[in-house]
Symmetry: C2
């Protein structure tokens, strides 16, 4: 059993405003919870788990800081607090990581203009982590980094990449001395760029692209040459392709 | 109004077995329907559309072959036949394209091992079309090319790429003289491959990867070097990255 107030409180973490007030978010499922616990990637405050998960993870639980409260609950309670269509054994309540205080433009950073689809944002976070990008600057219109669908699709990458939410025009204006790259249809071939030492790479919304005032601030337009006839590439796929050419 | 028998018939095209028997599939929404009509990419047999779509597309409709039957229907009927969460003005019933009869291995072709997620398959089809890949060989475990979610996420690319469904082990055994490439964690860097003139590129299921009997038949393992710590890349993203390095 789980107290009604506790239930409401965990459910409230599904909403951005309430999870930001609590400074917490939720991670679910044995694979991702095991990753954040064993690698100490994030600060877990509470665990809600089925008895079989608790039994199977005795060793992992023994090594936890004493501040972590472990609640053994039943299937019915788990279904009530879970954000997943199919609740999966364990749910962790986790402290949010601070946003980045200062962007270091001597390292390449991603700038996301209105990536609203949580699945796309999650995929981009994993791609960034794969290619060693540690800073993601999001417009206020982007999906929230702690949206449950974002979190679940990133695995541990959510903990290894730093975030900054801002007005992109103001941010790029303040970083005018930096090279600002963007994916566009009429730019320089991605193959000719070579390895980029630093700067900002802007990725736009898949259907609307990069907004005009943001594009006006871009110095170098990058194009993925099209051999066939497809209308466009998915924003996450374009991010992966560009990073694979400019980070290695 | 739409006759009950017609309604049932169109709804039946949501199921693979029934749409294969009818040799038809469904395309929805103004953007994709306009693309296939204006570019004559596919053979449309019937259109079901709201009056405002019919009025706005008079010119397009005038140029259609007389065999295309246009039904003006209301919102309620459209909602009943649509596979979309939000029905979108027009639905086309379209003839299936024949599967590829013979694979031409002098051109690079994609081989998909158990890509079950329709969204992933649709994204891969668009990527293939972007990079000029015209042949996709799917294992029987892949999603169906005419699954509504696949079709809607490919736009016109579904019509420009050829498909072949087969047992991959038998197929690869029969093509042993061909170079067989695969994405793997322990291969040659994708940057060192150069442009590939032909051959087969195997992409595996995201969580399970490439099945062992298929991997045994691979000649060249390709790796996307990992700089950071992400656990894996999405199958579609990996496909896009590899194709961007080996087709241009």
């Amino acid at each position: 059993m789980i107290a009604k107030s506790k239930l409401k409180y965990i459910q409230s973490l599904g909403h951005k405003k309430l999870r930001d007030e609590a400074d917490l978010f939720v991670v679910e499922g044995p694979k991702m919870v095991a990753e954040i616990l064993s690698e100490k990637l994030l600060q877990v405050t509470e665990l809600y788990a089925l008895l079989d998960w608790v039994t199977a993870n005795e060793q992992l639980l023994k090594n936890l800081p004493s501040s972590v409260v472990v609640h053994t609950i039943d299937n019915i309670s788990l279904a009530k607090i879970s954000q997943l269509t199919t609740p999966n054994k364990v749910l962790a309540v986790v402290k949010q990581q601070p946003l980045i205080a200062t962007i270091n433009t001597s390292q390449l950073a991603l700038v996301l203009d209105t990536i609203q689809d949580p699945g796309n944002l999650g995929t981009i976070i994993r791609i960034a982590d794969w290619f060693g990008i540690q800073q993601i600057i999001c417009s206020h219109e982007c999906a929230d980094r702690y949206n449950p669908k974002v979190v679940q699709s990133t695995m541990g990458s959510i903990a290894r990449v730093g975030f900054y939410y801002t007005n992109l025009v103001d941010f790029l204006m303040a970083n005018k001395q930096t090279q600002i790259y963007a994916a566009a249809l009429d730019g320089m071939s991605v193959q000719k760029l070579g390895k980029l030492a630093g700067g900002l790479l802007v990725i736009g919304n898949e259907s609307k692209g990069i907004s005009a005032p943001v594009m006006d601030l871009v110095n170098v337009r990058i194009t993925i040459p099209r051999i066939g006839l497809a209308e466009s590439l998915n924003a996450a796929v374009a991010t992966g392709i560009i990073l694979s050419h400019v980070t290695m």
